[in-house]
C-alpha cells in the first residue's frame, strides 16, 4: 500500500486512514423514488426481515446488513439501486432541477445518472455519455430497471463531446480509484504517482470540455474516487488557471464530514480557493474515499 504513503502529510489521522483500508465496506443502496416511496420501501424491507439503517446525511441512502443485496426482489424490480455511499454525493452537489438539461460525461454504470434522473423527477433531459460500448450495456440496463424516462445515451469521447449547452454537467472522471480499496482490495497495487499524472492529463481535457459545454451561470461538478492531488486539486487548479470566468463553490453536505481540498502540495502553493473543494476520507465517515469540486461558470 506504499502508494498511500505520499499522503501522510495531507490526510488527518494517517494511522486511522491506513488501518481502515483493510476493513471491507458495508453494502449500501439508494431508494429509487421514480418507482417507490421511501416509506413503502422501508416497510417492505422490514416485512422481509432485512436489517438496514438510513444514512444520517441522506434519507434515500440505506446501509444494508445483508450479504447479496443485488438478489433482493426490491433490486430486481428497481425499487432500490446498489450504490456506494459516497457515490451519492456528486449528484447532490450537482443539485439538478426537474426540466433542466444535464450532461453526465462519464456515465457508466449509471448510478449517478439515475440518481440525477430521480432528482429531476423523470422530467427534462439527462445525456448519459459513455464512450465504451461494453460499458453502455450496464448503463442502459440500470436506466431501464430503475424506470428512467429522461435519459438519452451517447457514445462520444468525453474530451470531444460536440455540443451543448447544458445547465449542469457532471464529470465523474475515470481515476486511479484509490478510494475503492475497501470495496475491491488490490486497487492500490495499480496506483502510482506516474499513473495519476497520466490520468490527470485526461481529466483536465474532460473537465475543460465540460466547462465549454456549460451555459453561463451553469454548474460543473468534478468528482473522483481517489486521493491523488494530481487527479483532484491539480486538475481543478489547471482549469481555473486557463479560464477567467470560473469560481469554486463550497462543497459541504450536512451530516457528512468533509476535509477541505489541499492548498499546498509537495512544497508548492496551490490556489487558495481549492479549500472549497471536498475530500472525503474512509476513516472519518466509515465510507470509501472521494473528491468533489463544484465549479460555477460566470
Amino acid at each position: 500500500m506504499d502508494c498511500l504513503d505520499r499522503y501522510r502529510e495531507i490526510v488527518p489521522d494517517y494511522v486511522g486512514f491506513r488501518a481502515i483500508q483493510s476493513l471491507p465496506l458495508y453494502n449500501s443502496a439508494r431508494i429509487n423514488t421514480l418507482k417507490i416511496e421511501r416509506e413503502k420501501l422501508l416497510e417492505r424491507l422490514e416485512e422481509e426481515g432485512v436489517l438496514f439503517r438510513s444514512f444520517e446525511w441522506y434519507p434515500l441512502g440505506l446501509k444494508l446488513d445483508i450479504e447479496s443485496p443485488g438478489k433482493l426482489l426490491e433490486n430486481l424490480l428497481g425499487f432500490i439501486h446498489i450504490q456506494e455511499e459516497l457515490s451519492m454525493v456528486p449528484p447532490l452537489v450537482l443539485d439538478p432541477l426537474p426540466g433542466e438539461c444535464v450532461l453526465d460525461l462519464c456515465a457508466s454504470p449509471g448510478s449517478k445518472t439515475t440518481q440525477i434522473s430521480q432528482m429531476m423527477e423523470n422530467q427534462g433531459l439527462v445525456i448519459a455519455n459513455e464512450p465504451s460500448l461494453a460499458r453502455v450495456a450496464p448503463l442502459r440496463s440500470n436506466c431501464e430497471r430503475l424506470g428512467v424516462l429522461n435519459v438519452a445515451v451517447t457514445r462520444y469521447d468525453g474530451r470531444n463531446f460536440p455540443r451543448g449547452p447544458f445547465d449542469r454537467v457532471l464529470v465523474d472522471a475515470p481515476c486511479s480509484s484509490e478510494g475503492r480499496e475497501r470495496r475491491g482490495p488490490g486497487v492500490l497495487s495499480r496506483c502510482s504517482r506516474e499513473r495519476s499524472l497520466d490520468l490527470g492529463v485526461l481529466q483536465i481535457s474532460l473537465l475543460k470540455n465540460a466547462l465549454r459545454l456549460t451555459k453561463p451561470g451553469g454548474t460543473v461538478v468534478y468528482s473522483t474516487c481517489t486521493y491523488a492531488p494530481e487527479e483532484n486539486e491539480l486538475v481543478v487548479q489547471k482549469v481555473l488557471e486557463d479560464a477567467e470566468d470560473l469560481r469554486l463553490e463550497k462543497v459541504s453536505i450536512a451530516g457528512l464530514q468533509e476535509c477541505p481540498g489541499i492548498t499546498e502540495w509537495n512544497g508548492k502553493r496551490l490556489n487558495d480557493a481549492l479549500s472549497c473543494t471536498a475530500r472525503y476520507y474512509p476513516h472519518i465517515n466509515d465510507t470509501g474515499g472521494f473528491y468533489v469540486a463544484k465549479i460555477i461558470k460566470n
Partner: protein
C-alpha cells in the same frame, strides 16, 4: 429520415404518439393520458419513449426507454415499460401468488387459469408489476429478461441456462 431510411440506417425516427398509445389502449386498456409526458421514437423494430423534450442534435445510442418490440406479431411490451405503465392496465392482467411469482421471476413457465386473451399480459404480485408474460392455452411463460431474473431455486433450475 423517412421510415424506410430509419430501418436501414438504424437511426431514431420520431413517431406519432397516437400510433403508440392506440396499441397500449387496445391490448391493455391503458389510457393515452398515461403517456402524455412522453414522446416516441422508432429505431429498427423497437419503439422508445422519452420525456417530452427537444433532443439536441447528437448521435444517440439510446433515447429514453425501449418500450416495445415490433419485430414479431403481436408487438411485445418490454418488462421495463410494463413496470412503469403496466399498473394502469385494465385488461390482460394476471395476478400471481407468492409461489407462482417466484417461478415467474426465475423465468419459468407454468399453468395459470385466466380469462386473458392469448398474447402478452401484465403480471402482478401483491400490487407490483413483475413484468411481461406470454399467455397462451392456459400457460404463462415469463418474458423477464435474463439479467433481471431471480437466481433459480433448486426446483426451478430448468429455467436458467
Amino acid at each position: 429520415m423517412s421510415q424506410k431510411s430509419s430501418r436501414i440506417r438504424n437511426v431514431f425516427e420520431p413517431l406519432d404518439s397516437s400510433l403508440v398509445t392506440r396499441r397500449w389502449q387496445e391490448r391493455f386498456g391503458i389510457s393515452e393520458q398515461v403517456f402524455s409526458g412522453c414522446i416516441f421514437f422508432r429505431k429498427a423494430r423497437s419503439i422508445w419513449a422519452i420525456s417530452d423534450v427537444d433532443l439536441p442534435a447528437l448521435s444517440y445510442e439510446a433515447v429514453g426507454m425501449r418500450i416495445m418490440n415490433c419485430k414479431d406479431r403481436p408487438w411485445k411490451p418490454t418488462t421495463s415499460a410494463l413496470q412503469i405503465f403496466g399498473r394502469y392496465a385494465t385488461k390482460n392482467i394476471i395476478h400471481l401468488n407468492q409461489e407462482e411469482s417466484m417461478i415467474f421471476l426465475e423465468g419459468g413457465s407454468q399453468v395459470i387459469e385466466s380469462d386473458c386473451e392469448i398474447g402478452y399480459v401484465v403480471v402482478f404480485y401483491r400490487g407490483d408489476v413483475l413484468g411481461c408474460g406470454l399467455y397462451s392455452h392456459g400457460k404463462l411463460v415469463s418474458q423477464i429478461p435474463k439479467e433481471r431474473r431471480m437466481a433459480s431455486t433448486i426446483k426451478g433450475a430448468e429455467c436458467e441456462a
